[in-house]
């Protein structure tokens, strides 16, 4: 029996589900055993894998979040593109079966899919119906615009129903990148980086500046509470403990929300937008992660990986995973299979609706930059500078763009 190592970043409820799915695969055949190991957050998992690669101890499969795509794509020689893997191993693989938004994100300029989609998400709004009710709001009507967010929050706080209006996970992903796409603002030049390595960031546009400025203002007023860098580990607890009435987070937080929000009822809504920005709401971009195959492992492991991928792409597995976790169904087949589920669980399709709201534009189809993992760190830092009051929104975003571009240049230099 060949063991195939899979490093992933699914903690908590998701991790448990993931192990269950892997168990399903391992039980379904006897040639291969996939061994999942949780390596921490997305950035931790990715850097651990890179370090391991350098040490020649890499796993066959690693889960890399969407913004690591640029770095992984450029690492020719370190990765085995998934289209090639499947072809080499003679496994069935049809890129066309996946949703277009997903395919677009992970496909190189030649149209080849480089990694195996697994868990794609998009951010949505969760809110506490009980608090809404207590504050005299309609528990079935989440705020639609940022104006309403502010207004509702104030009501909630004044009524004493909760201490704070809202919090958010992933300031980088949700309040910056998705915010830009949602308002049809460019994240960077050259189609947000899809156009080539010369692309540069442009996150310091007036709309983003206004939003970050507002977040700071709301933080000062206590309406908004910051939940920490990366995924914002402290945000969900504030929502669960009913400190904050609303949270914006990955659709995939659903599993956690359901497990932890035991004392109140949760509602789901689309991300708010500024109604004075033209074209908003556009569509959100996908997040989550795909599975990359690293080179340098024995051939049997690749055979196992291919087999495992076939299993993972199956509609049954995908539908099961998506309905448990809140991740999007990534194949058409899975989406079809889940229609019943969606009708039974109102709000479960919020994410799907968001990404498919409009035909994606250059600004809203995703992003692809090198060293973006590091840039994510910079986004968090600059946001924290803003929160700490050491910079204003314009200053923080300007500096974010400047430092981010330095990373991109560095990446360009490294890859030459």
């Amino acid at each position: 029996q060949t063991e195939v190592q899979w490093w992933h970043a699914m903690g908590g409820e998701l991790g448990a589900k993931l192990e269950e799915i892997v168990q399903g695969f391992n039980d379904s055949q006897s040639d291969y055993k996939v061994v999942p190991s949780y390596k921490g957050t997305y950035p931790e998992t990715m850097t651990a894998a890179i370090a391991a690669f350098r040490a020649d101890e890499q796993p066959a499969i690693v889960q890399v979040f969407e913004v690591g795509t640029g770095t992984m794509m450029a690492a020719e020689g370190a990765i085995v593109p998934v289209y090639q893997l499947m072809a080499d191993q003679g496994a069935s693989f049809d890129p066309a079966a996946f949703l277009p938004q997903v395919v677009g994100y992970y496909t190189d300029t030649d149209g080849n899919m480089l990694s195996m989609p697994f868990n794609s998400s998009t951010p949505i709004l969760y809110y506490n119906k009980n608090v809404f009710e207590a504050a005299g709001l309609d528990p079935e009507t989440p705020p639609k615009t940022w104006g309403e967010m502010e207004e509702f929050s104030k009501k909630i706080m004044e009524s004493g129903a909760a201490d704070c209006g809202f919090t958010t996970g992933w300031v980088s992903w949700i309040q910056t990148e998705n915010f830009s796409a949602w308002h049809n603002q460019p994240i960077g030049t050259m189609e947000n980086g899809f156009g080539g390595l010369d692309a540069r960031l442009s996150l310091n546009g007036p709309v983003q500046v206004k939003h970050w400025g507002n977040l700071k203002k709301w933080a000062d007023e206590g309406i908004f509470k910051y939940g920490g860098p990366v995924g914002g580990d402290n945000a969900p607890p504030m929502f669960y403990s009913q400190d904050c009435a609303m949270i914006m987070n990955s659709s995939a937080s659903r599993a956690g929300v359901i497990a932890n929000a035991t004392d109140f009822e949760v509602g789901f809504g689309q991300l708010p937008y500024y109604d004075d920005v033209e074209g908003a709401p556009q569509n959100t971009i996908i997040g989550g992660a795909t599975l990359w195959v690293l080179s340098g492992r024995p051939d049997e492991e690749y055979a196992g990986a291919a087999k495992f991928f076939e299993y993972m792409a199956s509609a049954d597995v995908q539908a099961d995973w998506a309905s448990f976790s809140g991740y999007l169904p990534i194949t058409q087949a899975a989406a079809d299979q889940m229609s019943g589920y969606f009708s039974e669980n109102p709000g479960a399709d919020t994410g799907l609706n968001e990404i498919t709201l409009n035909e994606p534009t250059e600004n809203s189809k995703g992003l692809r930059f090198g060293n973006y993992v590091q840039i994510r760190g910079i986004i968090d830092e600059e946001f924290e500078q803003l929160m700490a009051g050491s910079k204003d929104a314009q200053g923080a975003l300007d500096s974010l763009v400047e430092r981010g571009n330095a990373q991109i240049e560095e990446f360009q230099a490294q890859s030459q």
Binding site: G12, A16, Y38, R54, Y240, N260
Partner: protein
């Protein structure tokens, strides 16, 4: 006693009691937390007295742990920590006592250079050269192994200096007596030097055990296989919760377990501990 001033004595006791309280506070809170359930925290008021779930929480952690945090059972991690701490402590002592013997009791060409080579390790803490050291260890195929956890940490200038110091205080006459009594170098080493350094070795062992047990960065980096996680490095993974409340009661139970062996060593071997501490810093 020079003056008998009750006020001063009272003040001294007060300061000390406060000091003890401050020092103990975090551990008390951790202990209290480790005896409750998760929901006791989210309810808003923090419990200040132990709850009824001590056995449940600890035994759960010892045998199964928090699998969603990617860590093996705490029992396993403690076992790994124990192996690492013991290997480091014993390894350091062995190689240091040998090198100190060579340096003190022999004159040979390049002796000074050898001495400096060892000395230089003081100036290269692992945190500082972490990236290349990781690569060297990886290159040797020592990732995810007990050898990798311990061997790179067992070079020790401090321990070598300590033994050098100890040997320097062993009177020349004793060596001379042994020589006249017909003992060669290794016989002298075994019959005289080692037995005479016994308490120093024991004291050093206590300190080095704590040092080894408390290693963090190194095990964090070189273990990617959960079977080799150590408890100190593993505990942080547990505290990072994703999309959920950290299981504080379980994390704190683990913290208590992680503290237990080294703290017990300090408390029960206080004399040796203090001796070791003072000596290694000389």
């Amino acid at each position: 006693m020079i003056e008998n001033r009750p006020v001063l004595n009272f003040l001294a006791h007060l300061v000390l009691i406060l000091g003890v309280a401050i020092v103990a506070l975090p551990v008390w809170i951790a202990f209290v937390a480790s005896t409750h359930t998760a929901t006791d925290f989210s309810s808003g008021t923090i419990p200040m007295w132990p709850g009824p779930h001590l056995v449940e929480n600890y035994s759960r952690m010892l045998d199964s742990g928090l699998s969603t945090s990617g860590t093996p059972p705490v029992g396993r991690m403690m076992f790994n920590s124990m192996i690492m701490a013991l290997s480091i402590a014993i390894g350091k002592i062995i190689i240091s006592v040998l090198s100190a013997f060579a340096i003190v009791y022999f004159r040979f060409p390049l002796r000074n250079m050898a001495f400096w080579c060892i000395f230089i390790t003081l100036m290269l803490p692992v945190e500082v050269r972490i990236v290349p050291t990781f690569q060297v260890v990886a290159g040797l195929g020592l990732l995810n192994s007990y050898a990798g956890l311990s061997i790179p940490l067992i070079a020790s200038a401090t321990a070598t200096f300590l033994f050098r110091q100890v040997f320097m205080t062993i009177p020349d006459e004793l060596t001379e007596a042994a020589r006249i009594d017909g003992a060669g170098p290794m016989k002298f080493f075994r019959d005289i030097l080692l037995p005479l350094s016994r308490t120093n070795i024991a004291a050093l062992f206590v300190i080095l055990f704590i040092y080894g047990w408390n290693q963090y960065l190194w095990p964090l980096l070189i273990t990617t296989d959960a079977q080799y996680y150590t408890i100190v490095a593993g505990i942080k993974r547990m505290a990072d919760a994703v999309d959920g409340l950290p299981q504080w009661h379980l994390v704190m139970a683990t913290a208590m377990l992680a503290m237990l062996p080294p703290v017990a060593v300090v408390i029960f071997m206080q004399r040796l501990f203090v001796k070791g501490l003072v000596e290694t810093e000389k």
